[in-house]
């Protein structure tokens, strides 16, 4: 959801018309996926809540997204780097989740992987073109990638909730595919004639509800309407 919101912030600000629409579409896809998950969570909780409660009524401490998703869009290269790091992970994660013991999650993964494949293709192709492009695009793409590089580790953090679900074959341990993920990243970076960045600050804590300073701003924008007019309908 957070990443979908970030992508929607490109709307009307894309570098070219085609990318404005591409990035808005990607944001929409992400929202579609989170709606499915939020609705399912509400159903599992069984207290009569809806997806809207999940999206609009939780404060920052109850969001468990990775900090990568909150990072600012920056320039186009930064956005592409963020999309690549996330979509590559999601591609492998959803591939594994397609065999989850939980039918709803398996169905969700089967549907969503088609969208993620496209996001991954979009990000990979831009990485290659910007990296292997002009000196300016190469430098900016490298900068975008380097600034977000170490945020990817958090995608592989698991806690006890995850471990319980993994044991029940409902969830999947991302560390199963970590090597495949790293290798594929290295291949793409090489094809883009970029350098593998040095490891930097390693963000963590998203799963415990501890976030970067960005989430507060994102949620205040995102949740404003529902919080200001709780009974609004349209």
């Amino acid at each position: 959801m957070i990443l979908g919101h970030r992508m929607s912030q490109w709307s009307s600000k894309g570098p070219i018309l085609e990318e404005d629409i591409a990035m808005s579409n990607i944001g929409l896809d992400l929202f579609g996926q989170c709606r499915m998950m939020f609705s399912y969570a509400a159903e599992v909780e069984g207290q009569g809540k809806t997806e809207d409660d999940w999206a609009y009524k939780r404060p920052e401490r109850e969001f468990y997204n990775v900090i990568l998703a909150e990072q600012p869009n920056g320039h186009f290269g930064t956005t592409i780097a963020r999309q690549l790091l996330f979509s590559l992970w999601a591609n492998f994660m959803y591939r594994e989740l397609m065999s989850s013991n939980d039918q709803t999650i398996a169905a969700f993964a089967t549907k969503s992987i088609k969208e993620i494949k496209y996001h991954l293709r979009h990000a990979s192709q831009w990485l290659i073109r910007l990296g292997d492009g002009t000196p300016e695009s190469h430098q900016k793409m490298q900068e975008g990638l380097s600034s977000l590089w170490s945020y990817r580790h958090e995608l592989f953090d698991i806690d006890e909730v995850d471990e319980t679900l993994i044991a029940a074959a409902i969830a999947v341990d991302p560390n199963q595919f970590k090597e495949e993920y790293e290798n594929r990243l290295k291949e793409l970076i090489a094809e883009a004639t970029l350098q593998i960045p040095e490891e930097g600050y390693r963000a963590k804590g998203g799963k415990e509800g501890i976030h970067s300073e960005h989430l507060g701003h994102i949620l205040s924008e995102f949740q404003y309407l529902v919080r200001a007019y709780p009974d609004a309908k349209w």
Binding site: E18, I21, Y118, H122, R129
Partner: protein, 95 residues
């Protein structure tokens, strides 16, 4: 057309397998793969089709409107070129 624009590609979408690809519009893109992706993003948002062709605009040669009179007017008064002009004779009704 300013020099800043990326090359232009014309987009053709096939709504169902077997039908002709129809011209849907155009996109600007740096190369063929990006043109294909851009066309998919812009012209198939509402499930418009199952196949996309992108053609570099320079590969399309169009007829010159100034030639319309010699290209198209002569076919306007030749009714015998339409199958409906002919009556089927009685004995040949079930060809």
């Amino acid at each position: 057309m300013s020099d800043n624009q990326l090359p232009l590609w014309e987009v053709f979408i096939q709504s169902k397998p077997g039908l002709p690809h129809k011209h849907a519009g155009s996109v600007h893109a740096a190369d063929a793969e990006m043109a294909l992706q851009n066309a998919r993003d812009l012209y198939t948002r509402r499930n418009e089709g199952t196949s996309i062709w992108v053609v570099h605009a320079s590969a399309i040669i169009a007829s010159n409107p100034g030639d319309n009179d010699s290209f198209f007017d002569p076919s306007d008064d030749k009714v015998y070129r339409h199958p409906t002009f002919y009556e089927m004779p009685e004995g040949a009704k079930h060809i």
